[in-house]
Amino acid sequence: MNALAVEIPWGVLLAIKAVVILAVVPLGALVLGYTFLLKMMSHMQSRLGPMDPGGFHGWFQLIGDGIKFLQKEDIVPDEADRRVFALAPTVVVISTFLIFVVIPAGPRLQVANLDVGVFYALAVSSLSVIGVLMAGWASANKFALIGALRAAAQLIAYELPLLLAVVGVVIQAGTMSLQGIVSAQQDGAIFGWSGIGNPFILTQFVGFLLFLIAAQAELTQTPFDMPVAESELVAGYMVEYTGFRFLFFFIGEFGTATAFAALAATLFLGGWSIPGVHGTAADLLGPLVLVVKLMAVAFLMFWVRFTYPRLREDQLQALAWKVLIPIALVNVIITAIIKVAI
């Protein structure tokens, strides 16, 4: 019997799960925003970033920024479609919250173990497009509208390589449940050798690269940040937003980065698992292992973000349709052939 098997009434359990999900997204946004946006980017530019707020290396900076946003006036443009305008940031953030529902942090630490976990995660992650379109349309601003339409075109284009990259993993694991994919990696074997299990980053390396590139585009991060290109669209669909609504977009952006990093860690790096660790130990170590893997993936994503300049709109679309999708399709076919052959 598992030591953590405590009987909790379902109502309390539901409340705990809701609180955890509500806490994880802003917390993830804070941690990633601080570690990578403030600190890593600064060091890559030969500077230190914020050093004073909070005393130790400016750790309080983002929290202070958040408090500042909360104090600001909530400005709604005269011509704006008020209801849609107010609702849009919430839609974006909700899609982030929903992804975390299926990401497992331990053998039993998961809000919901859906049989179609991967499918669900990728489906709700594209909900944010609707929020972005709502924001762009309701702002009654041409920059916002252009930004939102670019975001929509880009998210749809890169949804395909994202899905196809994951298909390889699903074929190899033989399941769409994230918990199942994790245990397939923990207990799997690479062509008969089971020393370190079978983290799919080794056997699905192409898929991993495709997933990272497509996730970068889904997050509208550089080099795929045409929708929010500040030098031509100011801030794209966010241009009319102030105060806590802007804060919502910020949390959405970095929360989704956390979610995609966690998803990539789960799909390709074995998620919460360490080869050979099972039972209660896995329950306790799980969240820590997941966070370490998540940060490693996030490092890759932000490293790319802070290195490359922006792609032009047509280059961006050409990369998705002419390069990534064919590679992803070939990857799926080869994976399927090997899966059937062995």
Binding site: H43, M44, Q45, S46, R47, L48, W303, V304, T307, Y308
Partner: protein
């Protein structure tokens, strides 16, 4: 495909830079000495000033305010005429307007205005940036000595 090596090289550059450490200075905690001839602030040598108003009139921003009056002094020689002297009452520079062009320093015929490398005189209130002749005179102590002339140069003094 041909661009791949460049893309990977770019990642290498940012990674190396990240490990190298910062080149910036954490200003209020540690300070960098400005170059000795830095144009930090304009200092006034009050006894050299004859309130001729040349600096004030040549200032593109009109940020120098000068007021003065004439006084009669006793003659140098017995039976001569009394001398008239210009007394400086007010010499203010509004650093909220000043654009640090240095025309006043160039135009001063009596060596009364100098560049000083001092730069820490920011104020929370814009009106406090109007500095009077006492403050400008205090900065005169921070003016570096003129650089030595080049070898063989004409010293300009009459032999």
């Amino acid at each position: 495909m041909a661009k791949l090596p460049g893309l990977i090289g770019g990642l290498g550059i940012t990674f190396k830079t990240m490990l190298k450490g910062a080149v910036t200075v954490q200003y209020p905690h540690e300070k960098e000495a400005p170059p000795t001839r830095a144009r930090g602030v304009i200092a006034l040598s009050e006894e050299n000033c004859t309130s001729c108003m040349l600096c004030s009139r040549s200032c593109p921003d009109w940020c120098i305010y000068i007021e003065g009056h004439k006084e009669q002094r006793p003659p140098k020689r017995e039976g001569g005429r009394p001398r008239s002297v210009n007394i400086l009452d007010r010499f203010d520079i509004d650093y909220a307007l000043c654009m640090y062009c240095g025309i006043c320093v160039e135009v001063c015929p009596f060596d009364a205005l100098f560049w000083s490398p001092e730069f820490e005189y920011s104020e929370p209130n814009i009106a406090s940036l109007l500095h009077n002749k006492d403050r400008l005179g205090a900065w005169f102590a921070t003016v570096p000595a003129p650089e030595p002339l080049e070898v063989g140069a004409d010293s300009g003094k009459k032999k």
